[in-house]
Assembly symmetry: C2
Homo-oligomer: 122 residues x 2
Amino acid sequence: MNPAEAVNALGALAQGTRLDVFRLLVKAGPGGMAAGKIGESLEVPAATLSFHLKELAQAGLVEARQENRFIYYSADFEHMNQLLAFLTQNCCEGGGSCALPQFQAPSRTRQRAGTKRRGRQT
Amino acid sequence: MNPAEAVNALGALAQGTRLDVFRLLVKAGPGGMAAGKIGESLEVPAATLSFHLKELAQAGLVEARQENRFIYYSADFEHMNQLLAFLTQNCCEGGGSCALPQFQAPSRTRQRAGTKRRGRQT
DNA sequence: TGGATATTTGCAGAACCATGGAAACATGAA
DNA sequence: TTCATGTTTCCATGGTTCTGCAAATATCCA
């Protein structure tokens, strides 16, 4: 993650509708949510939603996958982790007085085995 | 942290100069840095820097304190932590398959070493 | 094929944001 | 008080973003 990427990602999240969308997708988990369902949940017109989903996708925060007639959007957890790591990097010059977590981005999204996934979509 | 606050904070960070300033202050730690020094480090004209510092302060990400003729700016680590917690909240409906850290904002009363703040003055 | 559903693109106006020079303001020293 | 230094406010300019209608595109089913 470099500063320009971080600015893009932060800019993508710095808008009410997009933040709502992203949090909804974070909640939804890896399975994601179809665009129409998102618009329905948040009561956002399709065109407006599409604009925002594009912004989020360009910023690397969400991914789209086509499934039949639906397009499922899901949060890109790994990219988000990288952003969080970037923001807390070098806190207090690495000294012990640090008030932010020395947050490490995992190299891959960590999935735990034996989970009780409830994210399966309609 | 509520969505509107988060949008403000993210918007404040979603700009190159401001992100640079904030990260510089995160690096600098609780002691912070005088405005002039920040401008010097980042080569930003005083008027421009002042504008951005105001934005960051209004978003609750930095705090200012006057010290003689200098104004020291420092990152508000607690507010930043709240933002990070907000962004990772309710990940995957709280299920075990979560790919984001279940990040907890430290409570106001349990400050880590180095931060001896006791409230925000705006 | 035609029709229904799902989503994106084009567009234009309004609103908002970034920049930096000049001037004003605040603080401390002499 | 006067001066020097540090910081902010004012302001004009140019740029970017948000919104949602209408139209276009994509996919599936009969």
